[in-house]
Subunit: 704 residues, 2 copies
């Protein structure tokens, strides 16, 4: 090798020195090649043929780089167009089509143009038959006439497909790695969902939301899976199925399609200020069932029965799957909660709030690290990010400076907006640019029926059982609305596109795409008429309204015999939440934020030193009531009148050790006294116990 | 191929169906492989050995994914640590070390740990010798015992390096593709620089800034290049040089090291509210010379003399390089300005400001599209982004809603902060993790001397010539401060790391790294003492202060004979700016924003219809003075007293055609009358002409 080659090798060694491991934008690669080629050209002296080759490679790289930029530009222009049309729609108060539906339509149009409007170009693949190896390696060094080239494994392709690989460069360029959706676009969407959760209404309906999200999704997945298995059997008989389609595939389909995403409906709710409890139920369910669907689908994938008959039922494998579900879910939950708590502690004990920029950056980094931490530990980053968002909103948010509060909200709002619209316009695009669609009318019709039945089998029975335990029943109109709002969106798409290797998966992907289109357009457009048809009240401000009274619910009364059982169920199920609430209020909030009663009053006396260290001085000074968002925390689901304020306690709390012993005493009788209050509240009907003070120092004796 | 294989092939076909073109996070790839492997396992029946292989691949992919997450986590923790320490430093008012210096130190520490603390693991490379081909293809299909695998070309490596490729996975993981810096991290930094430009002071000193940036950088590049060529010659004689080092390499080094980045100094200026004109000079110079350095370095790379002696001077190639410089620079400038103008028009003519979220998203997308547009057309995205930022700040910013103004500022502030600290901590890390350092003491010492001399040869003579034309001279203390503030930072690093293929480039990279370390630590720490030693006034609020009076400059008086020439030079050079100002004020601002005089008054009468369409109704209604930031535009450099307001004209402007003819008339005598005012101002000394009105309706006759 001549010394002059050193320059000419260009990118070769440069790339070797710094392998593009973490983030390989071919945009960058193309650029790099171009630069290196340009750099290399300066050293090229003789060897005309090799110089010609270099030039050809340079041209190719430049062309590829140009195309990358153009394809990204296409998406940006798509989004820009969407934004402008959204504005026009909002401006003219058009409600029959939501922005996500709009993004899909624009995506469709651009997809058609790209598919039929751009010329097909030939690829530059070269086939080598190096058959002396018996396995594939992740990196390959190829000796091409004395020069060594490094190749990285992209994947295996079936021999039949070698000649049918996509020939259209532009179509290839606009096709993203499916994992981009999972690792780049979903996290901000999900984090924003957690961070912007309207806590008060969410916690008020926590039990119902959890039931809908966990039980409901499982039921829906199981029912859809079984129905689809029937459809698949039918297709086999009719001869419509050309490849394998297993029972686990059907269940997998059930899992991915069970993730509802009523973004359209909720946007309209928000705009019309529809009923806050219905909003909380729908929003909470859709947020949590996204997490459930992810973990459920990976558990189904992990279901590997032993032995030869790989698709028969195997108890051991089933329980392993259940174990995986629980493990991944709780692990991800823990990760998210822990990073949230750490951020809360850091923001509490440093005076970072004097520097909003630093605070915002820290908040962003910590939230992102949740994702990476979970992925590094083998959990699901997206799920961890959701719970991190909820924790951040519940604790960290209180410690932030006013500027950082709006900064963080706005930052994630923009990220969420861009990511969501990108996904929806990509969906529109994918209908025409994705090259392996398997359209099966029977399967598609079957799927529509199945998701309808799955949703019905999940909403109505669960609502019935929940109503047994709720004082404020979920009315029929609410149930119908929830049934109606079973849209499928970004999460179903991301789960479906993640693996499109097999025939079954391709069919699922195509069907999912069509279901998303249909539900977003039709159901999204029908929300406003549906709301008025179901007599669901609108015009409620979700942030400002006082806890609604009984009469604001339209269908409320559980009939005679139920109500007695109802009260008992409520009190039993509420026990756990009461425990959690008092723990959160007495220990977590004071430790993690500047609000709540001073720890010196809630911790036992022998923890005095620790308590004094952990309690922030603001707690003692802070006499004015805290903002409603922080301070309102509803004790039990359905228990609307017991609104706890965090701040009034501090009036008592400032008097040191005396108060500490009082609250200790109070702590021991928390459970009984809170039940007393509930009973009294029930008995006295309208006389609300809405005085703002914590449970423990509530002057029960003075009242008696 | 059996049907069961379909599932087992897993990612192969999935990746094939959706080739990861646009964004290839191996984080994602690993994840994808894992999912696919997991999915595939469910289909695996027989073939035990192949199943074992699958399992091994799965394990490998999982491990790789885990490592990717861990390495990103490392960076996030580094940044978090940096943020916390920055807070501590700000809290304790420590000024001897800036945050960027801090980030580098933490990077260094982590680099040492990674280098010496992690075990070396063996790579998984496999060498194939398929010598039947005579060129390398970008994609390779390899037939491995009947299965086809697709490989993509990563680059060429020299035969000698095959066995010495990095063995430590962790070091590989923390090493980024150099193009990441150019395409992901620099754009937000540069855009923020343009967007946060303090326009008033920038335009007041525009001539000097342009001179420093263009002439200064060229002079500095040429001097450093020549000095370094001398050093290289010396090293050859002494026998310290083991590989080729051409004159063009030296010039290239001159170009990359001429990009100053006094981020530390400016941060301290900001904190101490140091003199605004000095700030503007330093900031403007560093912003523009980044752009100049990028284009200059690619022009030098593009310098390809014909014939065999490739490193001799060739006039044709030289002029081609100059042409490339001018072409790329003006092209990028145009791209940036055009997207800025388009955004301004869109935000002006839609009522998007009712929806700050949409507005912010649009602003973000349009700014990003500048980068892609420039790259797609073969220009330099980073340079385009800079001018886009300036245009956005000058026009679009005025059309945004109040909320969007703070949102966009804050968004880019956070992105800029994160990107900058990331680059600086990566620099610290690279000192130990980059594996191809070439430390050459002679070269390093030579480089330090050269940049000192280069900076001196650029600041002092240029300042002398500029002072001939400036009414408000750049004093000696300012010159010394500018000399002292010649730090090198992110841009020099990004340019140096872009190509580390050859020996010469590796030596440059190592030297650049050390220069950045030294200048950031030593000079950054010495800024505060230097300011007080040079008697530069502090405590000036750069946003609020009125145009400073003469006495606020410490060294002002150009001595006797100069001042006459000075005035003439000023008046001549100011002519272009006056023309630009009146064009901007009368046509561009009214067309692109809601401010300025109505077009109906500034355009000729026959354009009436067009003028009425383009003029926003606000202009007529808007009687109160605009915000200072928009309305202040200093006519000529050094001309401090002529502050033009945009708004007063509208009082006259509302009376239609009469005013139009008046201003037309005024337009014809713009130049002369403004000169009159200047003269008068000079003559009368203290009696400032600071009444807020445009040039054209300035009531000269009433005053006379």
């Amino acid at each position: 090798m001549e010394p002059g080659d050193a320059a000419r090798l260009g990118l070769g060694r440069a790339a070797r020195a710094l392998p593009p491991r973490l983030l390989l934008l071919p945009l960058l690669l193309g650029r790099g090649l171009r630069t290196a080629a340009a750099a290399s050209s300066s050293g090229a002296a003789a060897e005309d043929s090799s110089a010609m080759e270099e030039l050809a490679t340079e041209k190719e790289a430049e062309e590829s780089h140009r195309q990358d930029s153009v394809s990204l530009l296409t998406f940006i222009l798509l989004l820009t167009l969407t934004i402008l049309t959204i504005w026009l729609f909002k401006h003219r108060r058009v409600r029959f089509l939501h922005e996500t539906g709009l993004a899909m339509i624009y995506g469709l149009i651009v997809g058609v143009i790209l598919r039929y409007g751009t010329p097909a170009t030939s690829g530059h693949d070269k086939s080598l038959s190096c058959t002396q190896e018996d396995r594939a390696f992740s990196t390959l060094l190829v000796n091409v006439s004395g020069k060594f080239f490094e190749y990285t494994l992209k994947g295996e392709i079936s021999p039949g497909k070698i000649n049918s690989v996509e020939q259209n460069d532009m179509l290839r360029k606009v096709t993203f790695d499916p994992e981009v959706f999972f690792n780049i676009l979903l996290p901000p969407i999900i984090f924003h969902a957690g961070y912007s959760l309207k806590k008060r209404h969410f916690f008020r309906n926590l039990g119902s939301i959890l039931a809908y999200a966990f039980l409901g999704t499982a039921v829906s997945c199981f029912i859809i899976g079984n129905l689809m298995y029937g459809v698949v059997k039918l297709m086999k008989i009719v001869g419509q199925l050309s490849d394998k389609f297993y029972y686990t595939d059907c269940l997998f389909f059930g899992a991915i399609i069970s993730a509802t995403d009523p973004v359209t409906v909720l946007a309209i709710f928000n705009e019309l200020h529809a009923d806050v409890d219905l909003y909380a139920l729908l929003f909470g369910e859709s947020v949590l069932n996204d997490a459930v669907a992810i973990v459920l689908s990976s558990s189904i994938v992990a279901y590997q029965p032993a032995g030869l008959n790989t698709h028969a039922f195997d108890a051991a494998a089933f329980f392993k799957s259940v174990g995986i579900f629980l493990g991944i879910f709780s692990g991800s939950f823990t990760m998210g909660a822990v990073t949230g708590v750490v951020t809360a502690l850091v923001t509490k004990f440093t005076k970072l709030h004097c520097f909003p920029l630093l605070e915002t950056a820290l908040f962003f980094l910590m939230s992102w690290s949740t994702f990476l931490l979970a992925e590094a530990c083998g959990f699901t980053g997206v799920v961890a990010v959701l719970f991190c968002g909820i924790t951040q909103a519940h604790y960290t948010y209180n410690n932030l400076s006013v500027e950082s509060r709006s900064r963080t909200k706005q930052l994630f709002e923009v990220l969420h907006f861009l990511a969501e619209n990108f996904i929806f316009s990509y969906m529109g695009l994918a209908l025409f640019t994705f090259q392996k669609h398997v359209f099966s009318p029977v399967f598609i019709i079957g799927a529509f029926v199945a998701i309808f039945l799955g949703r019905a089998a999940h909403i109505y029975p669960l609502s019935f059982f929940l109503n047994l335990g709720r004082r404020h029943k979920i009315g029929w109109n609410f149930q119908h609305m929830m049934m109606f709002s079973g849209l499928r969106g970004a999460m179903a798409f991301a789960l479906a596109i993640r693996d499109t290797a097999s025939y079954a998966r391709q069919m699922m992907f195509t069907t999912t795409l069509l279901i998303v289109f249909f539900t977003v357009w039709i159901i999204g457009g029908g929300t406003t008429p549906m709301l008025s048809w179901l007599n669901i009240r609108v015009g409620v401000d979700p942030d400002q309204d006082p806890p609604p009274n009984n009469d604001s619910f339209q269908v409320l009364q559980g009939d005679g015999p139920d109500s007695a059982t109802g009260n008992r169920t409520k009190q039993e199920s509420a026990w756990l939440f009461r425990l959690w609430y008092s723990f959160d209020h007495n220990y977590l909030k004071p430790i993690l934020t500047h609000s709540g009663p001073p720890l010196t009053t809630t911790l036992p006396a022998w923890c005095g030193l620790l308590a004094r260290c952990l309690t922030s001085p603001q707690v003692y000074d802070n006499q004015e009531p805290l903002r409603e968002e922080d301070s309102d925390f509803i004790l039990t689901e359905g228990d609307l009148t017991l609104t706890y304020g965090d701040s009034t306690v501090t009036a008592n709390g400032s008097s040191g050790s005396h108060t500490a012993s009082t609250s200790l005493e109070g702590g021991r009788r928390t459970k009984s006294s809170s039940e007393e209050v509930l009973e009294r509240d029930l008995g006295m009907g309208d006389q609300k116990v809405s005085s703002r003070g914590t449970r423990l120092v509530f002057p029960l004796d003075d009242n008696a």
